[in-house]
């Protein structure tokens, strides 16, 4: 099978991967780089479980062509914690507010929240709901997730 070599940064580190033209970024992250934090929930960009940041923007990695990632900076959920492994304030808020049940949507939720808070440090509840509308959760009913994002926003803005 024809392979194309792409070079990009993942969580601050250089990565070089030979990809097939039809592969998506999720496959490269999960299967080639063993970054299994991003999940596949639908494979069609509807559930948001595969959300990662590409150049700071939240994207559905299951729809994102791997070749497009060439030269990009990609952040996955594994890249959020501090150097000593301490949780990012968004991750900590999710843990403390009960926003994690089955956890399958959590990595994507956390990254969508990160993209939002990088853009809008103190979003309104409406802005949070809109920013997370592409990330489905079937366990929590969203209320504790929204609370977590609000708590994280406050902490990060302090």
């Amino acid at each position: 099978m024809e392979r194309i070599t792409i070079r990009f940064k993942v969580n601050g580190e250089d990565a070089t991967v030979a990809v097939a033209p039809h592969w998506n970024l999720l496959r490269v992250l999960r299967e080639e780089l063993e970054l299994t934090g991003a999940k596949e929930g639908c494979g069609a960009g509807e559930c948001g479980a595969c959300t990662v940041l590409v150049n700071g923007r939240a994207v559905n990695a299951c729809l994102y062509p791997a070749v497009e990632a060439d030269g990009a900076e990609v952040t996955t959920v594994e890249g959020l914690a501090g150097p000593g492994g301490e949780l990012h304030p968004i991750q900590r808020a999710f843990v403390e507010k009960g926003a994690v049940q089955c956890g399958f949507c959590t990595p994507g939720m956390v990254l969508s929240a990160k993209a939002l808070l990088d853009r809008v440090p103190l979003p309104s509840e409406e802005e949070i709901r809109t920013a997370l509308a592409g990330n489905l959760c079937r366990c929590t009913g969203y209320a504790q997730i929204i609370e977590a994002v609000q708590a994280a926003a406050e902490e990060l803005s302090r």
């Binding site: 299994t36 596949e40 914690a81 507010k97 009960g98 994690v100 959760c137 079937r138 366990c139 209320a143």
Partner: protein, 767 residues
């Protein structure tokens, strides 16, 4: 009431799995990768009902990279979660019964190769008529989907129950109302698709990692279908990305992965696509319900009659159990003296229905709470009044013999009405805005295993070790609901240690002692009791040693904050927990004890009498406030109140999460969700774009309230909170829609089109 000063129970501790999940390091089945692991894909039928004449896999087998191909004939032993009625096969055997049913499967070195091989498999069918509607399937001349079924036409099972003198009670009723309700075909839409990794070792032992709610039933089924002893099978449950009942029975992917792994001699992973999740289905049964309720002049219920036709889909699954749950659910949470039930489950050529959160309760609850709402309004009474009047007391025995040992349902109704301002709002809000009240309940476990057995339903072993610390071993399965946390909290409370010192080993048929699984909201009470008993037995052992050291009676000792002390002289006679553990082990060896839980075996002398009994029950009452846009027909649930009786909340934050999740899931079924099926049995929307589940943007303001409650016979007074709260959601919302626009919807989902149509009809009727 028992002593309620707890140190761990009742606090919102942080779940231990949450940081792992938030960092992306928690492993789900699809995250597992073993050396030389193969990837499997499934060839699915493109016909809805047919005899299989021929399957030719030779070209697929010849494709480089393909390591094994299996077909139904290689595993012709039928299975089912109800073992007396096995109807399903790992892969379609001789017949295809729904469009998309697995007919062959391939294991290859990579997913692309496996995918390519599917196209090389040739299947020849003899088509049969496709039935997507139970009415067509029940026609006397319909072709039988399951030839061996003993019931006429395509009825999978049917039953009748009658209590009291129903006809007389109706004749003597002051007011009788009857309506027909139709519920929709909905899917759990858990976020993690089914996934399993199977591996055979050189000794012929099988290890399977699967995101299941029922490792025990998977264990049994693998043994049956693969014809190998259970001792040679090890089921391990990694993190599970939600279940809601959908992973509460064996899924084909688990059996296929194991069959392929055995044939290929290499580990095999089979993860389903989202479309395949919809085909595996096991979602809520659509039921056409005719319900009739008679009341006296004051609104007291005199009689209730139910007739339900359940669309079961292609296979048995949990079907017969759910049929009897729809019967059992009629008897609570109101006092009903005369009840007639007639129900049937019908096979159709569609993905199989099964267990979904609150199974058997949600559909009759919808009918009953809607009818009571209308009856109250017709009698010029508040729906609050009629529900409060008929609500059961703190203890209650139904005419069907179900015993409720503890209920705070009346408190739930009062509290939710107070918190929501229901009485000030109902029938008083402007056109387009309304409130609706509904109540509900659910079992906290079952009374019987699905196969004949007298063994305990839950067992747990607690090991306390100077090096390894405290470990709770229990077969219960954490599917994301937080059962590991609940069991760990209970052990921490019992042993007087901090929660973070307790390790829980669960969801493993080899390491952990027996538990039936995560379904029927059974884990907190059943596994919780087993863990508490094991802890008590551990303490008995430690106290025997501590008593000698402290010079007092073992019965006079208690433990808290890591110290063992005499209840009479707490300051004088005390020693460290771990010091006592060390002394015990020095003198006696390992410190281990087990506990168990066996529910009371209540039953009756009628068909289905075993079903509906539970050690205890959870209750809930809810008020929805909706806004209907009369221009677009769009309904928005703006506010939502809940008051729930879950006994003592072990972790209030988790209870809140269960309740909010239930409300939003119920709202999805009320307003958006429906799997659509074409005439040939093909699913029209097996994806999360066209099958709409609620998003963060749809979320109402939810205010939950845990009422003061404590079941003295439950571990730490606790009851269920994961399935009761979904029961009243649909009628609460639909009652609110009635209050808003005066239209009584008896069918879901209530889409904008249906609202506009109804408003139009209403307008033309008036003019």
């Amino acid at each position: 009431m028992a002593e309620k000063t707890f140190r761990v129970v009742g606090t919102s501790v942080t779940r231990k799995d949450a940081p792992l999940k938030a960092r992306g390091e928690a492993l789900y089945a699809d995250d597992i990768r073993l050396p030389l692991m193969l990837h499997a894909r499934v060839k699915r039928a493109d016909v809805g009902h047919a005899r299989i004449l021929r399957i030719d896999t030779s070209k697929a087998e010849a494709l480089p990279g393909v390591k094994a191909v299996v077909v139904g004939e290689e595993a012709p032993i039928p299975y089912g979660i109800v073992p007396q009625m096995p109807t399903e096969y790992a892969l379609a055997y001789k017949k295809v019964r729904y469009h998309g049913e697995p007919v062959a499967a391939v294991a290859a070195v990579d997913p692309d190769t496996a995918e390519k091989a599917l196209d090389l498999i040739e299947v020849e069918y003899e088509p049969l008529p496709v039935y997507t509607d139970p009415k067509e399937a029940m026609a006397p001349d319909a072709v039988k989907i399951h030839e061996e079924s003993p019931f006429p036409a395509n009825i999978a099972y049917q039953a009748e129950q009658e209590f009291g003198d129903v006809d007389r009670a109706f004749a003597e009723s002051h007011y009788v109302l009857e309506k027909t309700f139709r519920t929709s075909y909905v899917n759990h839409a858990f976020l993690e698709p089914h996934s399993a990794v199977a591996k055979f070792d050189t000794n012929g032992e099988l290890t399977i990692w699967s995101g299941t709610q029922v490792p025990h039933y998977l264990h049994r089924t693998l043994s049956k279908v693969l014809e190998m002893p259970m001792q040679k099978i090890h089921v391990k449950v990694p993190k599970v990305g939600g279940g809601f009942g959908g992973k509460g029975e064996v899924s084909n992917n688990e059996l296929i992965a194991a069959l392929l792994a055995r044939k290929a001699g290499r580990p095999v992973k089979l993860t389903y696509s989202r479309k395949e999740v919809f085909l595996q289905h096991r979602g809520r049964h659509p039921i056409e319900i005719r319900m009739k309720i008679g009341v006296d002049r004051d609104g007291y219920i005199q009689a209730l009659e139910y007739d339900g036709t359940m669309d079961g889909g292609a296979y048995g699954g949990w079907g017969v159990v759910i049929l009897f749950y729809t019967a059992a659910m009629l008897h609570l949470p109101y006092k009903v003296k005369n009840v007639r039930f007639r129900g049937r489950r019908v096979y159709t050529n569609k993905p199989t229905c099964g267990a979904m959160r609150g199974l058997g309760g949600v559909q009759p609850r919808f009918a009953m709470e809607s009818l009571l709402d209308q009856i109250a309004i017709d009698l010029g009474m508040s729906p609050y009044e009629i529900k409060k009047k008929n609500a059961i007391d703190q203890t209650h025995e139904t005419v069907s013999g179900v015993y409720v040992r503890h209920s705070e349902y009346k408190q739930c109704i009062d509290k939710v009405v107070e918190n929501s301002g229901y009485l000030e709002k109902h029938r008083k809000l402007p056109f387009g805005r309304g409130v609706g009240l509904a109540g509900g309940y659910y079992i906290s476990g079952t009374a019987y295993t699905l196969y004949m057995s007298y063994k305990p339903h839950s067992t747990a072993t607690v090991r306390v070790d100077t090096e390894a610390g405290v470990t709770v071993y229990c077969g219960a399965t954490d599917i994301g609901q937080g059962s590991d946390m609940v069991l760990g909290m209970m052990a921490a409370e019992k042993l007087g240690l901090p929660f973070d010192q307790i390790h829980v080993v669960s969801g493993d048929t080899t390491l952990a002692p027996f538990d039936l699984g995560s379904f029927a909201s059974r884990v907190t009470v059943a596994a919780g009791t087993a863990v508490c008993q094991a802890c008590d037995r551990v303490l008995e052992k430690i106290f025997s040693v501590a008593a000698v050291q402290l010079g007092c009676r073992a019965q006079q000792l208690a433990v808290a904050d890591g110290e063992i002390y005499s209840v009479f002289e707490p300051h004088k006679k005390r020693m460290g927990f771990w010091e006592a553990v060390e002394r015990y082990i020095d003198a006696n060896g390992p410190l281990v004890a087990s506990g168990e839980f066996t529910p009371p075996r209540r039953t009756g002398k009628f068909k289905g009498a075993n079903i509906g009994h539970s050690p205890t029950y959870g209750f809930t009452a809810q008020v929805a406030e909706v806004e209907v846009d009369t221009e677009t027909g769009e309904i928005r649930v703006v506010n939502y109140w809940e008051a729930g009786d879950c006994g003592q909340a072990i972790n209030p934050q988790s209870v809140e999460g269960q309740v909010e999740g239930s409300i939003v899931m119920g709202m999805g079924q009320a307003l958006f969700e429906q799997v659509r099926v074409a005439e040939d049995g093909r699913l029209l929307n097996p994806n999360l774009h066209d099958y709409k589940v609620p998003t963060a943007a749809d979320l109402p303001q939810i205010r939950t309230h845990i009422v003061d409650s404590y079941d003295p016979d439950s571990p730490f007074g606790a009851k269920e909170s994961g399935e009761g709260p979904i029961q009243p959601v649909i009628p609460a919302i639909l009652n609110a829609i009635y209050d808003a626009i005066g239209v009584r919807f008896t069918e879901m989902p209530v889409t904008p089109e249906k609202v506009l149509e109804a408003l139009e009809r209403r307008k033309s009727e008036r003019s």
